[in-house]
């Protein structure tokens, strides 16, 4: 009799085991087959457009499959003109979405938590920031880039999350964590 009881208990436990699998199989937040999230937060493209009238230079970095996978590509449309004042606009895009997601808008909304930094290696290039966040500190989506004499070098563009604001204008002393860091080879002629 007691043996039968324990056999019953075993059967009961076996039943529990099986039914729990069934239970999990149809529980509500199971979303099998539907959870291959798009990379919503991904930035695939950094595009810095410099304009002086009809003189337009575009610096673009594109890495469509994100971190890992294929390496990103750098593309500079042409040389900059010496002794010229360009107005600059930066755009961050997620081109895996269709249409492409404009991440710059998010940065603009959270301007007090973000700042772009532009660091040229050609010493007579200066970049000034033309926009302000809600606290009156620069964000750097809109810029003015002034070239001096001819030369070659690079321009590094960084987007820093939670920098010290205000800061001395250099990313080295701004702290924070890096969301974007791309370096373009540039030429002034």
């Amino acid at each position: 009799m007691k043996n039968i009881k324990s056999i019953k208990a075993i059967k009961f436990l076996a039943l529990l085991f099986v039914s729990s699998i069934a239970f999990v199989g149809c529980s509500s937040d199971d979303d099998h087959g539907d959870d291959h999230d798009h990379e919503e937060e991904l930035i695939t493209t950094v595009r810095y457009t410099l304009t002086n009238g009809t003189d337009v230079v575009i610096l673009e970095f594109q890495d469509l499959d994100g971190e890992g996978g294929a390496e990103g590509t750098f593309d500079v449309s042409g040389p900059l003109t010496a002794n010229t004042t360009y107005s600059g606009v930066i755009q961050l895009l997620n081109e895996t979405e269709s249409p492409a997601d404009n991440i710059t808008l998010e940065v603009e909304d959270e301007g007090d938590d973000h700042e772009f930094f532009y660091t040229p290696t050609i010493s007579d290039i200066t970049v000034s920031k033309d926009d302000l966040d809600e606290d009156g500190n620069p964000v750097g989506i809109l810029t003015t880039l002034v070239t001096g004499g001819a030369g070659t070098g690079s321009l590094t563009i960084e987007l820093i999350h939670e920098p010290t604001k205000p800061n001395d204008g250099t990313s080295i002393n701004a702290g924070g964590s890096t969301d974007v860091e791309v370096t373009f080879s540039i030429e002034v002629q």
């Binding site: 937040d29 959870d35 999230d37 971190e67 294929a70 940065v107 959270e110 960084e158 702290g175 860091e181």
Partner: protein, 799 residues
């Protein structure tokens, strides 16, 4: 009953006669709480070194006593042992009350007498030890055992490590249920409320086959208490307050037992801390919040019984804000600056980054004994682990976790213990387990661990032979079948070019390719064999020798196979490999122990050789839109780990005791002839304690711990180009922090309080000298110092 009376008579009659030796001592042993008589209590008479046992009414009688002092030590299962002294000048009647404390005796000895198996090499933390860590984690408590260290992320995420091995190389068995709480990542700590457990055993030796085949590091066994069958209601409440983090813990438990064998227990704890402090600064966003509860009901008799247990652990853990970094240049800045980049005023707020973990565990177990055969137990258990990790994110996703995984595990197991044959005990059992991981959608990133289903089936048999009165031999074998079915999107470039999976695993491919990603269905099947042999021998003078050999096999875990993504706190991209094979370890552990209060020791050398040891190491640098990142990949090498753990205890005087321990370990990567990464360095502790039973059980304890610098580490440092500075910078991720010494102070007193309760007060100071230090095995050592001084006050009421 008759035998007790006979026992009492024999004890009495064996007294020797002398002059003036006609006095009688009548004693009655009662329960301190409800005044009921305690039968079968053992009474030891010091003067004559004789033993008595109390009768059904709790009474005992000593006749023919001489005038002078009579010292009695009364002990009973589940009670605190009590020593009383009387001066005998005439006949005396005394009532002696025993307290059935929740905790076991605060043993000074190195090892517990009660082992899980006779040949097992293990060390135990009892309830009193665990209570010291009431507001800490399991990993912190285990850290006090020699040979056990921990891999930390900050000070709240503490992963236990035995002999340098952690994560899925350690089995954690909670109430006879193997924990499955996504322990694979370095920054994933076990979800266990230390207050729910009564005893924790660390099994370094090989007797782990009953629980799994993959205990290459060892086994951590979290045991509940067995209650004495009697009608009683008791409980305790403990409050712990800390200066560092300005927080603490409150824990309460209530236990009801019945003479019939039924019992029930409920326990709940709440813990909250704000930002912790290093010696020089606040550790911004390092606070935590925990709510835990557990309930158990059961029935126990010799012949049959059952036990049902449910626990829920809810953890919200802040992660040091300064540890969130963007790329490798941020990492260099952090390493060079030596102060966190974010230091804010104290706050209880837990901001991003953080982890939210909810762990549910339920089990039901039943057993029945069969005459002249053995005991059959059946157990069903179920766990649901939901892990959400939040990072600093932009825009609409700011409040969305980057990792959201739900792991469901359930298993059914039986164990048959055959004890009918003299000198031989056999344990055999089968287990089936089904596990499902669900990467919850909506995180906006591809999941670090993909959806998978895992099926396990195991069978084992273990025999224990008593060779003679003093030696025992055990041997066992286990077979495991494991099948993993997963579904994962791969970057087409990674799949076809980087890892060449399209040629290695064409059978995993589906025809779905979108956004330069390919949908794959990897499937793996593993067959594992594991075995162990153990031998133990007892010598005179409380000395015993244990020798264990074990063969353990571990299947690569899902993170080693599939993980794929960026770890912000480490500034690295971690990539799993589908080509990984199982790990096979041969381990030898021996232990020579002397279990004695006056002078005891345990010397335990070990040697482990691991074939195809899976490790995560840096392999190169990739350029992303965030800048440069080192890529860390899992690879397999042959490894060996060997060392020795030594513990010593010595009674200095009646009231002073010394305890010390030292752990030495060496880990080698045999394939490349370099040291293994993340191996604990040599460390030793010394502790002097004073205990005075007459002064309200006053206990004072001073402990010192030194951790030496790890000089044997693999050099994975590299250079990276910093475009802002226009120069190559050195990324020193491998160098180890210098040696450090810490002192701590503990004190406690106990009072009788209310009618039937007791009150215990404790005052403790950790990091007494406010020493500034870093620990090699803390992943956040690049970003901030370890904790500074903490003053802790604990109040415990037993009722």
């Amino acid at each position: 009953m008759k035998s007790i009376i006979i026992g009492v008579l024999i004890a009495i009659s064996s007294f020797s006669y002398s002059q003036n030796c006609n006095y009688i001592f009548l004693g009655e042993v009662k329960d301190f709480h409800d005044g009921t008589a305690i039968e079968s209590a053992t009474i030891h008479i010091k003067e004559s070194d004789k033993y008595l046992i109390s009768d059904l009414d709790g009474k005992f009688k000593i006749e023919n006593l001489c005038s002078g002092t009579l010292t009695l030590t009364i002990s009973h299962i589940g009670c605190e042992t009590k020593t009383v002294s009387y001066s005998i000048e005439n006949d005396v009647f005394k009532i002696i009350s025993l307290e059935h404390h929740l905790e076991e005796l605060n043993e000074v000895v190195v090892n517990s007498h009660l082992k899980t198996e006779g040949t097992s090499i293990e060390q135990t933390l009892n309830k009193a030890d665990l209570e010291k860590y009431t507001d800490k984690s399991l990993g912190d408590a285990l850290n006090s055992v020699s040979g056990v260290s921990s891999l930390n992320t900050g000070n709240t995420i503490v992963k236990p490590m035995i002999h340098g091995l952690h994560s899925s190389r350690l089995l954690i068995i909670n109430n006879n249920v193997r924990m499955f709480d996504q322990e694979w990542g370095d920054e994933h700590a076990p979800n266990i409320d230390i207050n729910a457990s009564n005893k924790v055993e660390v099994i370094k030796g090989a007797n782990t086959l009953k629980y799994g085949s993959d205990a290459i590091g060892g086994l951590i066994l979290i045991q509940p208490k067995r209650y004495v069958a009697r009608d009683s209601l008791f409980g305790s409440t403990m409050l712990s307050l800390n200066s560092n983090g300005r927080g603490g813990n409150v824990n309460s438990e209530l236990i009801k037992t019945y003479k019939s064998g039924f019992y029930g227990r409920i326990q709940t704890s709440y813990k909250q801390f704000g930002d912790f402090e290093g010696p020089d600064y606040k550790l911004t966003n390092s606070g935590l919040k925990n709510i835990n509860a557990s309930a158990r009901i059961g029935y126990r008799s010799f012949e049959k019984g059952f036990d049902a247990y449910y626990s829920v652990v809810s953890n919200e853990l802040g992660i040091l804000q300064a540890s969130h970094i963007g790329n490798v240049n941020d990492l260099v800045t952090a390493i060079n600056s030596r102060t966190p980049r974010v230091i804010e005023d104290f706050s209880y707020d837990i901001d991003y980054p953080k982890q939210n973990i909810l762990h549910n565990l339920a089990k039901i177990e039943a057993y029945k004994r069969f005459k002249n055969f053995g005991k059959l137990s059946v157990q069903y258990d179920m766990q649901i682990n939901r892990r959400k990790e939040y990072d600093l994110r932009r825009g609409d996703l700011a409040n969305t976790p980057v990792i959201d995984l739900r792991l469901f595990t359930n298993s059914l197991q039986t164990n048959l213990n055959i004890d009918a044959i003299d000198n031989l005990k056999l344990d055999t059992g089968i287990l089936v387990r089904y596990q499902q991981n669900d990467a919850i959608s909506g995180t906006g990133v591809s999941p670090l661990i993909p959806d998978f289903e895992k099926y396990d089936a195991s069978i084992y048999a273990i025999g224990n032979f008593d060779l003679n009165d003093s030696s025992e031999l055990s041997a066992g074998a286990r077979y495991d079948f494991t099948r993993i079915n997963a579904e994962k999107l791969y970057n087409l470039t990674d799949w076809e070019e980087t890892y060449n999976y399209d040629e290695l695993f064409p059978q995993f491919e589906t025809n779905t390719v979108e956004n330069s990603k390919i949908l794959t269905r990897p499937e793996f099947t593993f067959h594992n064999i594991s075995a162990n042999v153990g031998y133990s021998k007892q010598f005179n003078n409380d000395i015993s020798l244990f020798v264990n050999y074990g063969l353990a096999t571990r299947v690569p875990n899902p993170s080693e196979l599939f993980s794929d993504g960026l770890h912000h706190s480490a500034a690295r991209i971690e990539t799993g490999l589908l080509t990984l094979n199982k790990e096979i370890a041969n381990k030898f552990v021996a232990s020579l122990e002397r279990n004695n209060q006056n002078f005891g020791f345990s010397i335990s050398p070990y040697f482990k050789h691991i074939n195809d040891y899976i490790q995560l190491i840096p392999v190169g640098i990739t350029t992303t839109i965030r800048g440069a990142f080192p890529v860390w990949e899992y690879n397999q090498i042959n490894a060996q780990i060997f060392g020795v753990d030594i513990d010593v205890n010595k009674k200095i005087t009646d009231k002073f005791n010394y305890k010390g321990s030292i752990s030495l370990l060496k880990g080698e990567n045999l394939t490349e002839d370099i040291p293994l990464i993340h191996m604990p360095s040599t460390n030793f502790t010394n502790s002097i304690s004073y205990y005075n039973d007459e002064l309200n059980q006053l206990s004072i304890n001073l402990t010192h711990k030194t951790v030496l610098q790890q000089n044997e580490f693999p050099d994975y440092n590299f250079y990276t180009f910093n475009p802002i500075l226009q120069e190559d910078v050195y990324v020193d991720i491998s160098s180890t922090p210098p040696a450090y010494s810490l002192f701590s102070f503990n004190s406690s007193v106990s009072f009788k309080a209310f009618k039937t309760g007791s009150l215990k007060l404790e005052l403790n100071v950790e990091n007494l000298l406010n020493t500034k230090y870093n620990e090699y095995l803390n992943r956040q050592r690049y970003f901030a110092d370890e904790l500074g001084r903490n003053i802790n006050l604990k109040i415990k009421i037993n009722y």
